[in-house]
Subunit: 220 residues, 2 copies
DNA sequence: TATATTTATTTGGTTAACCAAATTTTATAT
DNA sequence: ATATAAAATTTGGTTAACCAAATAAATATA
């Protein structure tokens, strides 16, 4: 009756992977504890167990780093998470900003076969509803080359392919102003004063703050 | 980060519901422990907690019985389980005898909204792949009137609508002889000696032992 | 360099679910 | 009614994940 033991470990793996790939900042106990919202003592304990299981290694300067094995497992979880997100949005009509918590639960369902079938059922999508790439069954994930909207060329047709920030507030804001992944737009003006960007979107002009524009990633 | 606490409780509820509705046998600690494959001390402890939560009550003769609240929760879990089974079979091409363990995991995903959407996505099926009825969102489940094949009339076209036994061995056996829920057949002979039943199925005669025939439930 | 701050670690807890073995209670059979 | 068997309960554990508070070690700052 014990099939739900690995949730914690899986959360550690996923969080670690994300931290490692966010900035090239080294991940220490404090950083991981904060990201997981857990007590450092708890995290230390778990990191040791995961070290025994060869999922992470602790370097001389106390940096916590995923091993190859750990990375593979992390990518598997990310794969599940993103495939389930596609399912929720495409098949169950959820909006892209509503699916995170559910996918967080579904990603822990233990069955590679299920994931494979789900992938086929969804038509082997390459990205999730937020534009993030979906790793293949071997854990290979192609990096999508993007640049922030603030860096993109003016007067050219460009497409939003991903987000640099997946917070609920940001997703809701985008929803509110009617912007979504896959939308195309043209930068009509770049205001030097406050770095805001004015674009033409669905025939209408739209001004985006520096904060917003820098989190909108477009195809390079 | 604590969203997976209720698995145990949910398993107790579901098992209790099934035991109560199998025979009208009263469920005691031993019976429940055996069904859950857990130590009686463990079950006793949990039953007490569930009693505090008003999910079960323990009668004078130590019979453990679901309260209305408990029944409602149990039906909700059964509903989820059966809907996920439909999903796995209809959408992911699993065979009906392969889905139980996966559905066992999926049933614990916590979201009424998800279940509702899943139901709509599946076209609001009334039965699962084993022919068992799916409770509605309020926990109402219509009892399907069936009779064992051994009791059915001769020479009439009858349809298998459910199984009296969902063990893996039985499901595999049915798969092997090519029988499935929804199949129609006509009883050509009922052998008095060993109570075996000979039927015409897909134009071919097929003899079923008393054991098998009694677990094949047909529409009444 | 000495002090302050941050980070890591240890220590001594907790809760939920589990178990085995001993004991008590209840039921059954003679 | 008593021995026996079965069921319920108690007792004293375990493990996984968590925490707070104390301490130690490392790093930064004055």
């Amino acid at each position: 009756m014990q099939h739900f033991i690995h949730h914690s470990e899986e959360n550690y793996l996923k969080t670690l992977f994300k931290l490692e790939n966010k900035q090239d900042k080294k991940v220490n106990n404090v950083a991981l504890s904060k990201a997981l919202d857990l007590n450092p003592a708890t995290v230390l304990e778990m990191v040791r167990k995961m070290n025994d299981r060869k999922l992470v290694e602790v370097l001389g300067d106390k940096t916590i780093r995923l091993t190859e094995k750990g990375k593979k497992k992390a990518l598997q979880i990310i794969r599940r998470h993103r495939l389930w997100e596609v399912f929720l949005v495409e098949k169950l009509d959820y909006k892209w900003n509503e699916v995170h918590d559910l996918a967080e639960q579904l990603e822990h369902i233990e069955s590679d076969d299920l994931v494979k079938r789900l992938e086929l059922f969804l038509g082997s999508p390459s990205v999730d509803p937020h534009g993030d790439p979906i790793p293949d069954e071997h854990g290979k994930m192609k990096k999508i080359k993007t640049q922030a909207l603030t860096e993109a060329p003016l007067k050219k047709k460009i497409t939003i392919v991903a987000l640099g920030n997946s917070s609920d507030e940001f997703l809701k804001y985008l929803d509110k102003i009617g912007l979504a992944i896959g939308d195309t737009l043209v930068i009509s003006d770049l205001e030097d004063f406050d770095k805001s960007v004015t674009v033409l979107h669905k025939k209408k002009p739209l001004t985006l703050s520096k904060e917003v524009a820098s989190s909108l990633l477009v195809a390079v």
